[in-house]
Amino acid sequence: MANLAAVVGIGQTSYTTKREDVSIAGLVREAAVNALEDADLTWNDIDAVILGKAPDMFEGVIMPEVYLTDALGCNGKPMIRVHTAGSVGGSTALVAASHVQSGMFKRVLTVSFEKQSESNAMWALSNPQPFSTHLNAGAGGYFAPIIREYLRRSNAPYDAGIKVAVKDRLHGARNPLAHLQKPDITMQEVEESFMLWDPLRYLECCPSSDGACAMVIADEELAKKSPKPPAWIRGVAMRSEPTMYAGRNEVNPQAGRDCAADVYKQAGVSNPRKDFDCAEVYVPFSWYEPMWLENLGFAPEGEGWKLTMEGATSLDENGDIPWNCSGGVLSSNPIGASGMIRFAEVARQVRGDAGEHQVDGAKLALGHAYGGGAQFFAMWVVGSQKS
């Protein structure tokens, strides 16, 4: 059995297009210092640092843990660098948790970041490779056809994506750290925004952000002594499948379903919509909310959009299962950190420390991240109670 572990400190930067006032080192340090302050700890209290980020080409720094050692107070300590594509922020949190759950460490710091403004992520994602057709369509060009297939299968109304885009930005307006601040956004504004990759409009896509997120994870004994309520880690799971194989269900990937089943079992969750108080799920394009509602078992296959349209996932409509109360990836997207922000935001919820986007009395919540061609999944369940 895994040893108990809990999140005892959370730190984030604000998210914005360009953080010109800090270097990469300054960015990660800001999040780390915020997490240490939140936990009322100092650098000396940390036994190891677990760093995550998306491809090195996003900033052009190879294996950046080498350079970030000093900024993260790691001299003489273990440091490890995780990279699992877009799911990396989540995977990094899981690797950090495993340091404590294995009984090998008492208290670790985990940090993930992206400073997209220092390079060109669109180029890094689809830099031309010889011999292949170069369509430079970016992530939207890859995911839009999959979304179209979802629309065909589910017969979802055309504006379910628009609804998600509005809902997550209204959530984001409650979160002072969120990149996009759009308290007055309307369905009409989203609908009239430029169609980039049909059926995805400009406002249905995530922004490109600079930012970092950090957490301190501690063992049971130290967590109990922590000044603020701990968020107990109740389940952890990862799954991967190949990008392409004959018969792959790209709309509703098996890796996502299996990963959810695994983490629910650990946390004793049988009905996710009922058992969870909220969830932070990686939704970089609006339509991925209904798609993941189905993949994660919150709705039957083909009916995820109904929850969205009913307002079940909206804080502002008093939905029963609010998703992405922080504004989600649609409001802030420092790619390598985006998964960890999901994991950290659910920890904030069950600690009762989520400010204006707090779900009243949240006790159990799901954090989710995915990456690659929707093939890498990382999830955790955190609770206000140990079991």
Binding site: Q129, F131, L135, A137, P145, M195, W197, T243, A246
Partner: protein, 172 residues
């Protein structure tokens, strides 16, 4: 100079140029040698028998090398698509244009390519299409030998059969 006079440095330009000798891989090289001759060659997984194009060297499902070569048709079916409204740098194609996942007859996976000579609003899943090739003297070791796919005047493929047609376009 006092601190308030000092301007903040917010940027250094440090362009990175690195040169690589790119290798496609053995199996992809066989695919590229065929496409240079105007042939779409798939490769079959010895375990699950799925036909991949373009192969990357292995069957992702089974984790084994794809060896047997299978000549495919240049007729294909639209598995899905998107209408793109952003231009491709250094490419003459004007937005809006269509990129589609197409499955050539005889293959079991799709690849991404352009569609043209079509009414964008009428493109649909299950639609039949065919490759429009560049002139033969322009063929190289590249998928770009196919300029784009254009609609065919053939009945749509039922959803459940997409990716399952034989090389002659029949039910597999």
């Amino acid at each position: 100079m006092s601190e308030e006079e000092q301007e903040m440095i917010t940027k250094v330009e440090a362009p990175v140029y690195l040169k690589y000798n790119f290798t496609a891989g053995s199996a992809p090289t066989r695919f590229l040698a065929q496409i240079k001759k105007g042939v779409l060659a798939g490769q079959r997984c010895p375990k699950c028998l799925a036909v991949y194009i373009p192969t990357r060297g292995s069957c992702g499902r089974c984790g084994v090398p794809t060896v047997e070569e299978v000549e495919l048709s240049d007729k294909a079916t639209v598995q899905s698509f998107t209408i793109v409204s952003i231009p491709i740098p250094n490419n003459p194609i004007e937005p809006p244009f269509i990129i589609a996942n197409v499955v050539p007859d005889g293959a079991n996976v799709s690849f991404i390519h352009l569609m043209s000579e079509c009414v964008n609003e009428e493109v649909h899943i299950g639609q039949r299409v065919q490759a429009v090739w560049k002139p033969e003297d322009e063929w190289g070791y590249s998928m770009d030998n196919i300029r784009y796919f254009k609609p065919l005047d053939e009945p749509d493929v039922p959803i459940e059969l997409i990716g399952k047609l034989t090389v002659t376009g029949e039910e597999g």
